[in-house]
């Protein structure tokens, strides 16, 4: 079947230079109205045309009826960070209409539902009204679905006016509705009718166009929570204790979706358990119990959940229990902005709990990495016998990213130092010493552990969060305590070698200025780097992927004259941690930090650094 290729028919007015594959579309709708389907359909169609694209969903913390925005960045150069500028705005919501109109860049385009009878009052933009209600009605959709299909109108109109292939849209709908004929036909009908209407009634006056490229080959689109869940499954997850919380819920829900498919035994029994706990205290408690008993065990939550887990994670740290904790961060403190993104939990994870503690943290920047860290986190946790955090965020967890396909693990599972019956039999001979749960046989601070179910009569020990000696016997002895804490700290040094190394982007010929960042701000920083370069400021960029910091980071800081630590929080938390870590380099590190709930933009990074450099 061939659909008309509207792009070919798209004629720009005389003298207008086309702007191809390089703009942002923002759609303002009402949440709970199904606009999510329309928006991802648009985005996916562009992706299938080979054009780099990414969507950021800006939604309120409620279920239905409030303004919500979806921004699609289309970038031939592959810049996928959020931009503050909106060339194309689709205004579907009377409540946010004024704001949406104001948001259009001069020279930009406004599409709007023509039933909104509010003043537009701008003559510096192109305006296209859309007969949304009429076309929705004409679709023949039952009235209960009328609102939903209404949002397909703008998909059709935009497809026509920007030159997005209708067959790519069909493809996207097919994907979304998992091949179900009826909804596909219904929605595609609306899209086609709307495109048709636009072709017949609207005259293209703006310069924006989508044209096919080949830049999305070898990529998939997915979100970080799906990636994390799948990565965990390929890491062999066996136990998940969780409690619903935005933006982490879909991580556990994805585990619930895939695990039964991928991990049934030949009798149809499950080789895993996912337990929705009564709260986060129980979720982490179960996960720690399972990790203690030798299961690959995890929980997923967000800031308030981590706060509640504080005491329990301290127990896992002290009793040396492997467990993986995903923090899909939203904006705190407190309930904060539950549907917004940020990087404000770094310090808390690093130091979590009373007493002296340090925790290992993995920080993915995109879904491919979320998948990778999903399985690696178990290896690291079992190797270190410690809780390991993975710090994601709402932007990564819930937005659709253009990302490399998931890579099958390239290393065998590392179950760490675990002993079964036979190992215990040969232990004394092999190591020339009696086994004890907390004896540091290898001198790396990591002892050998046994787990319940080991039937060897000398396998059992009593685990506790209180002071104990090498043989797990209760002890208040001062020397034992110091020995124990220092050994545990030593594991943190071992962690430096185990954790994923930072990623470095260097300017050819070297740069005086170093940038350091972590996680999902990568896109913004990379884009800013190009802009800075264009402004005559070459920089090198290191993206930290874990704490504690590897030695590469020490070198990077030492080898640069000024280092900007760029992050999405108020207090410059990584900057604080690096200052403590490298006091000798403290003066050269400059914090570039802010948080307002939105993903970082290149413009903000560039402006901050240029302002500093101008000093």
């Amino acid at each position: 079947m061939t659909t008309a290729q509207p792009s070919e028919k798209l004629a720009l007015p005389e003298g207008v230079e086309p702007i191809i594959n390089d703009f942002s579309i923002t759609v303002g709708t009402v949440n709970g109205s199904g606009s999510q389907t329309s928006n991802t359909t648009l985005m996916r169609a562009i992706f299938k045309m080979g054009v780099p694209v990414e969507g950021k969903n800006l939604f309120p913390s409620n279920i239905q009826g409030l303004p919500t925005w979806f921004t699609i960045r289309v970038s031939k150069d592959g810049y996928l960070a959020r931009r503050e500028e909106h060339e194309i705005v689709v205004a579907m919501n009377p409540a946010s209409f004024a704001r949406d109109v104001a948001d259009v860049l001069p020279g930009g385009v406004l599409f709007y539902d023509d039933s909104i009878r509010l003043a537009i009052g701008r003559d510096d933009i192109t305006v296209y009204p859309m007969p949304v209600k009429k076309l929705a009605k004409a679709s023949g959709a039952p009235s209960s679905l009328r609102n939903y299909v209404a949002n397909m109108v703008y998909v059709g109109v935009l497809a026509q006016m920007l030159g997005i292939d209708l067959d790519k849209i069909r493809f996207a709908l097919d994907f979304h509705f998992k091949g179900k004929e009826k909804p596909i036909a219904l929605n595609m009908g609306v899209v086609e009718a709307a495109a048709q209407w636009a072709a017949e009634n609207l005259e293209k006056k703006d310069p924006y166009m989508v044209a096919p490229m080949d830049k999305t080959e070898g990529y998939i689109m997915t979100d970080g929570n799906v990636a994390a869940a799948l990565g965990s499954i390929y890491g062999g997850v066996q136990f998940v204790g969780w409690y619903p919380i935005t933006p982490a819920s879909s991580l556990a829900e994805t585990l619930n979706e895939y695990l039964p498919k991928l991990r049934k035994d030949k009798d149809g029994k499950h080789t895993f358990a996912v337990v929705q706990a009564e709260d986060e205290l129980a979720a982490i408690g179960m996960a720690i119990g399972a990790g203690w008993a030798g299961l690959r065990s995890m929980t997923s939550t967000s800031g308030p959940g981590v706060s509640l887990m504080t005491e329990f994670i301290g127990l896992a740290y002290a009793a040396e229990v492997p467990v993986v904790i995903w923090n899909v961060a939203r904006v705190g403190p407190s309930t904060g902005l539950p549907t917004r993104t940020g990087q404000g939990d770094l310090t808390m994870l690093f130091f979590l709990g009373h007493g002296d503690t340090n925790n290992a943290i993995l920080i993915p920047a995109n879904p491919t990495e979320a998948f990778e860290f999903g399985w690696k986190a178990f290896d690291i946790a079992e190797r270190l016998q410690a809780p390991v955090f993975v710090l994601s965020d709402l932007d990564l967890g819930m937005n659709q990213w253009m990302t490399k396909p998931f890579q099958y693990p390239d290393q065998p599972m590392d179950r760490g130092k675990i002993l079964w019956e036979d190992d215990l039999e040969t232990f004394a001979e092999k190591f020339k010493m009696e086994w004890g749960r907390y004896v540091d046989v290898d001198g790396d601070g990591i002892p050998y552990r046994t787990v319940p179910g080991n039937r060897h009569p000398r396998s059992a020990y009593f685990t506790r969060g209180t002071g104990h000696d090498d043989y797990a016997r209760y002890s208040e002895d001062p020397e034992n305590w110091e020995h124990l804490q220092n050994r545990i700290k030593q594991k943190f040094q071992v962690a430096r070698e185990l954790m994923p190394l930072p990623v470095v982007y260097e300017t050819e010929g070297g740069a005086e200025i170093g940038l350091i960042g972590f996680g999902t701000t990568e896109d913004a920083i990379l884009e800013a780097r190009d802009q800075l370069m264009a402004a005559g400021i070459p920089t090198d960029f290191m993206r930290v992927r874990s704490l504690p910091c590897s030695h590469h980071l020490d070198d990077f800081v030492k080898n640069h004259k000024r280092v900007y630590v760029v992050e999405l929080n108020r207090d410059g938390q990584l900057h604080q941690i690096l200052t403590m870590h490298l006091p000798g380099q403290a003066e050269k590190m400059v914090s570039v930090a802010h948080i307002d709930g939105l993903p970082m933009t290149a413009r903000w990074v560039r402006e901050q650094i240029m302002a500093q450099e101008a000093k």
Partner: protein, 342 residues
Amino acid sequence: MATRTNRAGLTKQQYRGAPSTLCQGCGHNSIASQIIAAAYELDIVPENIVKFSGIGCSSKSPTYFLSRSFGFNGLHGRMPSLATGALLADVSLKGMGVSGDGDTASIGMGQFKYVVRRNLDMVYIVENNGVYGLTKGQFSATAEKGLTLKKQGTNPYMPVDICMEAVIGGASFVARSFAGDPKQVKELLKAAIQHKGLAIIDIISPCVSFNNREGSYHSYSWGKAHETPIHDISFVPSREEIILKEAFEPGEIKDVTLHDGSHILLKKLDRDYDPTSRVDAIQILDENYRNNLLLTGLIYINPGQPTLADIHNLPDYALNRLTEKDLRPSPETLEAINAQMF
């Protein structure tokens, strides 16, 4: 003379733990002895039991029995969640939890209600002394109304009834006993251990240091004077013929059969009590609560209730012995997933 061993080939000594560091005379010590005795008499291999506790004097006691069992002394009030995760690792293991009244009914109320609801396969013993022993004698949630303690004044609240909480929370096995009645404690323990699912035993266990004054509900003297068993309980393991049964008149005995074929025999005393009826259980507990009685025995049992492992459709082999080949799906499956991603 050869040391006596049980059918597991073990001496009683092999069921003991480290020497107790609790106060002399503490009820918790006598319960520990009965746990040792019950496990020994049931011929259980200690490695098949996993011990759990929260924080408190009571929660220390798992150190004092079954050294050869793994144990986890967790956090205050959080034993249930730790046990829940751990016991799914190998469903052939039996959980044995010891908690206190503070640990279970104040800070632990939420997790207690939920482990009951999930019917985890474990024995959950509450060593109930009406006070916080380890922090030196504050009122706990089970202190009776009107109890006066030295530094604490007079308790103005009605006690939390742990058995009632368990019954209405959906427990499959609920019993109450008294540390001063070791025989009953032991028989109940045996039944609880063999029961498949969560078995709550609320044992009044006097704190000799902080709440053993004459006349107080949780004292030895009051318990000795007022304990009223609702039946005479005997546990009969599956391997034994129920010869006992024949010794009773018809109608005199109630026989509850457990999943493994063992039996709980309940000999009628003053009243005709049916522990398989939820209505009866609620009624007797309400009566007990309103009149501050100490009725002991098996209050409720439902041997057929699915456990958490059943609900999660777990296999009968140990999950924690699975290896990479069982745990990591094949590369082909990932290829398929990548292909399905947009």
